[in-house]
Amino acid sequence: MNASASDVTLNSVIRTENLCRTVTDADQQALHILKGIDFQINAGESAAILGSSGAGKSTLLGLLAGLDQSSSGEIWLNNQPMSQLSEEQRAQARQQVGFVFQSFQLLEHLTALENVMLPLELSGDTDYQAKARKWLDNVGLSHRLKHYPRQLSGGEQQRVAIARAFAGDPVVLFADEPTGNLDSNTGQSIIDLLFSLNRDQGTTLVLVTHDEALAQRCQRRFYLQDGKLNEQVQNDSEPEDTATGGLL
């Protein structure tokens, strides 16, 4: 894993070319959510995607992670062109990807521990239980192992989802508003966890967030507006301005 991780540092982990996503609503009206997106994220980088509600951030993130199919354009995940892969091959590619859903998407009928164990078991890890416990401990949930998702608070569910994404030891971690439901203290510790992963394991981070503080800690920031993605040039001294600029 370490060898391959250092391999990818030389290349882009994610690259898109003229990526578009169009959906139709109940009246068969076409809705263009993404209208040609070109960008690239290199291995080991951390990136934030910002944008107003309904701008298409979640849609973009799902496409980047290979969970959905683009309408046109291309995505390279670890230099593999996703649109040319079959769903089965995309699943293969996803084994190096962790994903935290905006709506958590925990398995309702499995306990917190079992939820976190699942990706480890699927990848054939024999030490799945210990690792799952460790990750739940890391997100501060060692006392909630046997709880079912519906017995957990929103923030707790979010942390289980994060532990589950971390547990797979991903090369790229996509997180859709990972701190959206957390108080500032807990949020902060989760953010610390994310960046320590980024620092220690070289995990690439792609985060969707409304939280400027979180966005500021990322190396790169992108704004999604009117189906287009614009990168905000790094300006550490004036974070407020960048935010305003991005929204305008």
């Binding site: 089965e88 699943a91 998407q105 398995l107 309702e108 009928h109 699942l118 990706p119 519906r150 797979g168």
Partner: protein, 865 residues
């Protein structure tokens, strides 16, 4: 609902109206959203299945009734030893019934060259009410030709061919019946209602009803049977019957084709029960489908109701609106289902019409009512419980997802379903026994299967963690879904069970019918064989290579005393006219129990029990009538029942002045349907041998070997030969008909069961689809997911198959004895077939239903769910 009204008491009316309006609006919206599709289809399918089976059963049953009516002579037959008052017949005519009086009496018939005792039957115009007389062209060509409604006119006699041989006469000759001369005009080879008079061994002479007085044979006190045949619509029959019954005297016997089946009685009875059972099976299948669909719908609407409740519209109100919506949906779906069922049934029958042995009458209006009514009842019984639970959803569920719908009321779910089921079953068969047995079987199966499934889940939970990852994950998934998996397993199991039961009973019914009348069933009886000629008679048959029964000895005697008192005084009043009291009965002796006889009370004798007949009884008997011994006797169950005789009763028979007394030591049920020689009373060997006796045999003559009959007649003039080939052919035709009915119903049940099973599996896939997609996002490969799912489906299917096995064996063992009077034996093939087919069908259906999980991007699957 009531709370909602009282909360807004001022606008009570308005709320009520707007609830309906809301319901209609919602129906349109829900329909478009697609969530109602499954429920609507389940209902339509359910009602269609019920309608289909109801229409089919109705038509097949009416077809069978027509056949039976033919065998009996009419829909309703009144038998009497005396003339029937004219006003009874007038009453029948004013009710719109067709009335045909007939009468039968034995009489000597004489020609120039001989005489013969014959069974004269006088018929009036309209005879036969059902079917046709079959006439032969000549003695050489006995193939039946339809009489086309013709009857003997005054002065004519139509005769059975063997009467001609006995009289040595030919067509065109004159014969004398009593004081009147008749000219022989036709040869009768087929008489549709002959079956009813099977016991009249003498050859038939058919004359016109108006000629009876002129013969002067019928005098006060002579042996005459009037048979008045009635035909008409069931309601006309019922009205007339209701009027007539209070007028009847003990000597009268009223036979209704729907209740008093002629000699194929048990076959028809069983077939009818089978049809009922399959219809009920269809109802159960449909109930399962509707219940699953409704539960799914309610599950998916919990959030809606919770949110609406949090916005100030009580769950009560919302639940009420959903209930109304469902009622409207139920009405529409029921009507659609009934129409579909009708069309399918009509086209299905017209497709196979050429294969049917007889014409099937069109369906009546009842199935329409039955099907739509069933749809609504199903909806109320199986769908309203989940929706009632919707009313209990707490608005807090919006915040706390663990506030699931109240589960304790699963008692309500099963309770309501059970009540609906019992009502439906009773409605279908109008038979309390059947209802009780089925309900009992079902409850037993449900409770047992729930316990067993839960137990197995526990075992799986313990075993699971030690297994490799894929079975481990599959088992964990199954176990963690136990709340939904349990009803699923039970539903699948129930569907399989119903289908298995229907198939199982069909097999055994067909086998029992084939056994009843094998192709080589004896078609001739020889009676009055004298002891001195018995060896020669047997040798003659054997030389001709004819398959024959042993020659049974038989002693004819009249039942004189019961427990030492005159028999007529001892029997119940209504049995005074019972035939067995007024004619000589056949007694015979056996050391072993005859084939197809079952001892239902007491014990068959073996050598030891013969020795140990209670001494006290012997002494008592001897005290009563000195010089006589008490003989153990075995009594036929029907006679025992009619004459209210039981174990230990003493019977004294009179045999031309010679008395023998015996004690009933066992009661036998005799199969009268198999046309084998049967005896009312049997004794052990060594008792009757010294008494005057004749012998009786039955044998099978193939179509081409009829020349033997004239030879037998010549060689053994005293022996009476009786050709029952005609009756056998009729019975065979009826058996063929019921077999077909059973096969058709089985086919449809299999088909409906399969469709409903597929629908039920499809219905259970929501969670699996979502979870499959989530596994997918976690990097599971297609092979991994499919294998995990497959293991899960196989487990579910095998479990369901196992439950079906247990359930069908259990229910079958209850039903067989109590309904079909069949011996029940475990069927080994089921033990393999059911779990395997359960596993295969559910796995295939499940895998098919979840195939998108690995074909579509996971986000698309998640969004579609």
């Amino acid at each position: 609902m009531t709370t909602a009204v009282s909360e807004r008491s001022k606008q009570g009316n308005k709320v009520r109206v707007s609830s309906w309006q809301m319901a209609m609006r919602l129906l349109g919206r829900e329909w478009r959203s697609g969530d109602l599709n499954l429920l609507a289809w389940a209902l339509i399918l359910a009602v269609m299945t019920v309608a289909l089976t109801a229409f089919l059963a109705d038509r097949l049953q009416r077809g069978m009734e027509q056949q039976a009516a033919q065998l009996m002579g009419g829909d309703l037959v009144l038998r009497s030893p005396r003339a029937i008052p004219d006003d009874w017949l007038d009453k029948a005519r004013t009710e719109g019934l067709t009335v045909v009086p007939t009468m039968e009496f034995p009489s000597m018939v004489a020609s120039d060259t001989g005489f013969q005792l014959s069974a004269v039957k006088a018929v009036s115009s309209g005879y036969p009410l059902k079917g046709q007389l079959g006439l032969a062209a000549s003695m050489e060509d006995l193939a039946p030709i339809d009489s086309a409604g013709r009857l003997p006119v005054s002065g004519e006699v139509w005769v059975e061919p063997r009467l001609l041989s006995a009289l040595n006469a030919s067509v065109g000759d004159e014969i004398e019946i009593g004081q009147m001369l008749f000219r022989i005009r036709e040869l009768v080879v087929k008489e549709p209602d002959r079956g009813g008079g099977f016991m009249s061994f003498n050859p038939r002479a058919l004359i016109n009803f108006t000629d009876v007085p002129a013969t002067q044979v019928v005098q006060p006190g002579s042996r005459v049977t009037f048979r008045i045949l009635f035909a008409g619509q069931p309601d006309q029959i019922d009205r007339f019957k209701a009027w007539l019954e209070p007028e009847l005297e003990p000597a009268h016997r009223l036979l209704d084709v729907r209740q008093d089946r002629p000699s194929v009685g048990t076959a028809l009875d069983r077939a009818q029960r089978y049809l009922q059972l399959t219809s009920i099976g269809a109802v159960i299948l449909s109930g399962v489908a509707v219940a699953m669909a409704a539960a799914r719908f309610a599950r998916r609407r919990q959030d809606t109701v919770a949110v609406m409740a949090s916005l100030g519209h009580t769950a009560q109100l919302m639940g009420g609106i959903y209930q109304r919506m469902l009622l409207v949906l139920g009405l529409i779906a029921s009507l659609m289902g009934a129409c579909l069922g009708y069309v399918l049934q009509a086209s299905g029958i017209s497709l196979i019409a050429d294969l049917l042995p007889v014409y099937l009458p069109p369906a009546s209006w009842q199935p329409w009512l039955l099907a739509t009514g069933t749809g609504l009842l199903l909806l109320m019984g199986f769908a309203s419980a989940p929706l009632m639970q919707l009313k209990q959803v707490s608005p807090l569920r919006v915040f706390r997802r663990d506030l699931d719908m109240a589960t304790p009321s699963s008692a309500l779910v099963y309770g309501l379903a059970l009540v609906a089921l019992v009502l439906l079953v009773f409605w279908y068969c109008g038979d309390l026994m059947l209802t009780l047995w089925l309900t009992l079987g079902l409850i037993l199966v449900l409770v047992l299967s729930a316990l067993i499934t839960l137990g197995l889940f526990r075992v799986l939970k313990v075993v699971g963690p030690r297994l490799p990852s894929r079975p481990r994950l599959a088992i964990r998934s199954l176990y963690s879904h136990k709340q939904t998996a349990l009803p699923q397993v039970m539903a699948f199991g129930l569907v399989l069970m119903v289908v298995a039961l229907v198939a199982l009973i069909r097999n055994d019914l067909l086998v029992s019918w084939q056994q009843q009348l094998p192709d080589s069933a004896p078609n001739h009886f020889a009676i009055n064989i004298q002891p001195y000629e018995k060896d020669q008679f047997a040798a003659t048959l054997d030389k001709a290579g004819v398959e024959r029964s042993p020659l049974y000895p038989m002693v004819r005697a009249r039942l004189e005393l019961i427990n030492g008192r005159p028999a007529l005084e001892m029997v119940p009043e209504e049995s005074r006219e019972y035939n067995a009291l007024h004619r000589e009965l056949n007694l015979s002796w056996r050391s072993t129990l005859p084939d197809q006889n079952v001892v239902i009370d007491g014990q068959w004798w073996d050598n030891e029990s013969l020795m140990t007949l209670p001494a006290s009884k012997q002494a008592e008997g001897q005290g009563d009538q000195a010089g006589q011994t008490i003989i153990p006797m075995s009594l036929e169950s029907g006679m025992a029942e009619h004459l209210a005789l039981g174990m230990g009763d003493q019977l004294t028979f009179n045999l031309a002045g010679y008395r023998i007394t015996g004690e009933v030591v066992n009661i036998r049920r005799v199969n009268w349907d198999n046309f084998q020689p049967n005896f009312y009373v049997l004794t052990p060997p060594g008792v009757l041998e010294t008494l005057p006796q004749t012998l009786l045999a039955s044998f099978y003559l193939p179509e081409g070997n009829r020349d033997l009959v004239p030879e037998l007649v010549r060689q053994f003039p005293a022996v009476s030969l009786l050709d029952i080939g005609q009756i056998l052919a009729q019975v065979r035709q009826i058996l063929e008909q019921v077999t077909l009915a059973v096969e058709v119903m089985l086919g449809f049940t299999l088909l409906c069961g399969l469709i409903l099973l597929l629908a039920a599996v499809r219905n259970s896939l929501d969670d699996r689809l979502r979870e499959g997609a989530l596994y997918r996002t976690l990097g599971a490969s297609g092979a991994q997911i499919r294998q995990i799912q497959m293991i899960e489906f196989v487990l579910l299917g095998v479990l369901a198959g196992g439950l079906a096995l247990m359930g069908s064996e259990l229910t079958a063992s209850l039903l067989y004895r109590n309904l079909f009077e069949l011996e029940y034996s475990l069927s080994l093939s089921h033990w393999l077939v059911l779990p395997v087919s359960g596993g295969v069908i559910i796995t295939l259906a499940g895998m098919w239903g979840t195939r998108h999980v690995i074909q579509l991007p996971p986000l698309q699957v998640l969004r579609a769910g």
